[in-house]
């Protein structure tokens, strides 16, 4: 009896889970980046491969438990013993994971091994407890050097710029929200002023940690205008859940206006 | 005392199978400890290597006298391995007086090593090196790694000297036997071996 119930429960759980995944009850938001479809495709591929294993594993488990509960006669081993199982695991699962490694590494390579477009718009990102700030180089195209000792958030000097002494820093534009032109390659440089943080935009399919002491490049191209949330996914302290910023993907002309307005606010 | 005799001593006529690898359990335990401790030292040295590679303008404070001091320390520790070996041999030959003599020599050499090492430490400290400070103004990573890695090693040496003292006393009183001397010897040789990594990495690589 217990065995039959167990089998039924396992099958039900499997079907409900599979249903939820297949019908996308809760699912990834729309993809707005050029590289995103590769990641989505890889997720779909993995769902297929792993999902089959999941369903097969649970169903076989359930059916054996259903069938062989109680006294069913003299016990017997599966024909061939463990050899077919081991071969199955090595050959089938081995091929599967090899395939996933290869296809997956292509997707990964497409995101991380591709050099950023030289014409990319470069934006500096500074993360700190518990906000992001962004920096555009301004008309001179040069970022002023950073002086951590000058960081003073009360005076809104979030990056530690010294415009009085560094000519390059004079026209740097610091913003609380990141605006980018659509269809233009973007190259971010991530640095953190205190602890580890992360830059996660679900719609962009980008997640990258900020590591204090390192400047980490991230590049992407957004293909759909809109306003999206950037959230922190690396535990950074009490305000972690509230650490966010917005990404505005704008048309080129809107972007130019927006940047002008931001420059005027400095 | 082997396992077999032990069981008899415990008042049982049955005879337990001797250890499958012919190793007495304390000795086996020491081997396992050495494997684990090697990992611990490995992690410390990995951290040192990581710091070393990632740091520009690493401080290299050691002049000729420090290297000479280090060489003497190495020679002292190596000799102590020899005397330890002699102590184990003597224990195997059941020569109590010799065991006492050689263990004493090992302890003495270990103590000299520790003293020389502490002299080096105090030299560095008087120069202004600290766990967190570099008197030459560069990065402080040398102090942090040097004091922690050699500190760990020095702790092992001092623990070893004390342990040898206990073994010597126990052996003299007849509570301990040759297996205890051998186990202590294993530990002592391991501490020596670690020094063979620590010396080139921490001293030779930091000579200016």
């Amino acid at each position: 009896m217990a065995g039959k119930v167990f089998a039924v429960v396992v099958v039900l759980v499997t079907l409900v889970t599979a249903y939820c995944v297949v019908t996308h009850v809760w699912w990834m938001p729309v993809d707005i980046s050029v590289h995103g479809p590769k990641i989505d495709h890889q997720i779909e591929e993995t769902i297929l491969v792993a999902g089959l294993l999941f369903i097969a594993g649970q169903i076989v488990l359930a059916s054996f438990v259903f069938r062989y509960g109680g006294a069913t006669g003299k016990p017997k081993q599966i024909p061939g013993g463990a050899k077919p199982l081991v071969i199955f695991a090595f050959v089938l699962v081995g091929t599967e994971v090899l395939a996933l490694s290869f296809i997956g590494s292509k997707a990964w390579g497409a995101v991380y091994f591709e050099a950023p477009d030289p014409s990319s718009l470069r934006i500096d990102v500074q993360a700190g407890q518990f906000a992001y700030y962004f920096r555009y180089s301004g008309p001179d195209g040069k970022f002023g050097p950073l002086h951590p000792e000058l960081i003073n958030e009360g005076n809104q000097n979030y990056f530690g710029l010294d415009p009085d002494h560094d000519p390059d820093a004079k026209d740097d534009i610091v913003t609380a929200e990141i605006g980018i032109p659509v269809n233009k390659p973007i190259l971010l440089t991530l640095h953190s002023k205190d602890v580890g943080h992360s830059f996660y935009v679900r719609e962009l399919r980008v997640q990258q940690d900020f590591v204090p002491g390192l400047s980490i490049p991230v590049h992407f191209t957004a293909i759909q205008t809109g306003r999206y949330e950037i959230v922190c996914t690396q535990l950074c302290g009490l305000g972690h859940y509230n650490m966010k910023a917005y990404l505005s993907v704008l048309s080129q002309s809107d972007f130019d206006d927006w940047l002008k307005k931001q420059a005027a606010m400095q | 005392m082997s396992q077999i005799e032990l069981m008899v001593a415990g008042g049982h006529e049955v005879i337990m199978e001797a250890s499958p690898y012919g190793i007495e359990k304390k000795k086996l335990g020491m081997w396992i400890f050495i494997v684990s401790d090697a990992c611990t030292f490995g992690a410390f040295l990995f951290a040192y290597g990581y710091m070393r590679i990632g740091t520009v303008a690493w401080g290299t404070p050691f002049g000729f006298s420090s290297i000479l001091n280090g060489m003497i320390m190495t020679a002292v520790l190596l000799s102590s391995s020899l005397t330890m070996l002699a102590a184990v041999r003597a224990a195997q030959a059941d020569d109590g007086a010799a065991v006492k003599k050689w263990l004493g020599a090992t302890m003495l050499l270990g103590a000299i090593f520790a003293a020389l090492h502490l002299r080096e430490w105090f030299n560095l400290i008087s120069e202004g090196w600290r766990l967190f400070a570099n008197p030459t103004g560069g990065p402080a990573q040398f102090g942090a790694t040097f004091f922690s890695v050699t500190g760990l090693h020095l702790t092992h040496v001092i623990t070893g000297v004390i342990a040898l003292g206990f073994v010597a006393r126990g052996y003299k009183q007849g509570r301990y036997d040759q297996s205890h001397v051998e186990t202590a010897g294993l530990y002592w040789h391991f501490v020596d071996l670690v020094w063979m990594f620590v010396f080139p990495l921490m001293y030779l690589m930091n000579a200016h």
């Binding site: 999902g51 069913t72 535990l235 | 008042g11 992690a43």
Partner: protein, 587 residues
Amino acid sequence: MAETQVHAAHHAPSQGFIRKYVFSVDHKIIGIQYLTLSMVSAFIGMALSWAMRIHLAYPDFRIPILGWLSPNGAPNGLMTPEYYLSLMTMHGTIMAFFVLTAAPFAGFGNFVLPIQVGAADMAFPRLNMSSFWVTFVGFLLAAATFFIPDGPPLSGWTAYAPLSAVGSVAGPGQGLGQTLWVLSIAMFCVASLMGALNFIVTTLDMRTKGLTLSRLPLSTWAWFIDAWVSLLAFAVLLPCGLLLALDRLGGTSFFIPGGLVFNDQLQPHSGGSPLLFQHLFWFFGHPEVYIIILPAFGIVSHIFPTFIRKPLVGGWKVITFAEIAVGTLSFVVWGHHMFVSGMSPFMAMVFSVPTLFITIPSVIAVLVWVFSLYGANIRFDTPMLYSLGFVSLFITGGIGGFFLAQPSTDSYLHATSFVVGHFHFTMGLSAIFATFAGFYYWYPKIFGRTMNEKLGKLHFWLSFVGVYCVFITLHLTGFAGSVRRYSAFVDDFMIPLMPAQRFMTISALLLGAAQFIFLFNAIWSRFKGPKSSDNPWGATTLEWATTSPPPFDNFGGRQLTVYHGPMEYDDEASVMQTSPEASIAGT
């Protein structure tokens, strides 16, 4: 510590309550002490998870007891974000170390392993006693953080530097609380190393006559392999913790880079690397999940043959080699925790491949369990139900691994609740289920009484369904981009997921409530349960060849001789390992 003295102590039980039950060198008492500590820890950890789940789904709900426990952290019973993170940190720490590492390995291992190898005690009984008491001090240090003004640390059980390294400038709990935490973990490391050493030497050196390695019970095999993994992994966590303590207390900068600014003030550190911490931590951290799951493998593989009345497919070899492969591979996959951490993207691929390949031995283990059921006569006693539940949970958990092992898919799912769901299935609940299986299985041996079967089954059904309700939902919300370690959901993005949050909270409350059935059953049966025979399950290994509970020296001075492997089952018939009768299953 003369050998003879220790030896004599085995055969003359110490007198007096303190020597007998508190500072006991008897491995059985120590095993029970570990199990008790784990059980207390598990209920604390569960209470913490309740508080967190309630706060997430019903942020305005007041929990008066929290307000009483910490007027600062939860004024009027409403949790502050820092208190949420503190509870989360302590939930992770207590569950990962003091429950999942302690119970199936140190708890059952201590009680059962020496008996299964036919020894009177562990190889080093006093070392064994110190293991427990050092663990206990570690536990007290961790528990003490709840009662200091600043509260427990909030940097998670992974304690990533520099958050954990810079001290109280990083936020509440990061001062004394974090220091106590580091000391607690260092204590736990030392205790685990001593325990692992003891397990290895006992397995190698203390086996009784005829008990070759190929005849070892599968649980002993798993503990033995696990001890090796522990020995190497905790040996690295210890220096990691020591260096973190040096950064916190000695002013060094191992894990703290230069130029950090907290509160507009430049910190005095320079030159360290947060990635170094992550490498050292995950070099331990990934094997740690196998340290947790390998004893579960062993317990389940040990229980299966008894209740299916035949040997496992492939005998002892296939499952054991799978375990060895898992244990070995576990040391070369740590980088998959760091795919998005700023580690070289090339290294990500290097780490991805072994991570995916660790699936193969895991799949072999699962296939062994599942296909052993073929043609069996399964008995559905509670231990077996829990073992079957373990297999189901482990399959489900393992599937999530495919997504997290590949850097490309991980870059979306990393740090979402998908990860939380995944590791709760694989290492959390799987190991807990195996622990329950072991508990119901060995309870008659430990206490000489049988647990109530009806309550046991009820406990199982509620737990099994509850686990799926909570943790599958976590996977699904993870796909939707729900971020883990958030103390409240204020994003536009997360608010639509609130119904799922409420569903999980209600399920988690029920799941937790079911555990009180277990608690009641365990305590009630201890005094009122029916007396158990020496071998109630008709099993074959040495722990069933002695009385229930076993005498002080396990076999009353008998020296056993082993003639068979541990899986001599054929339907109703079975042959004890100690029986000179002919083999019926050829093991």
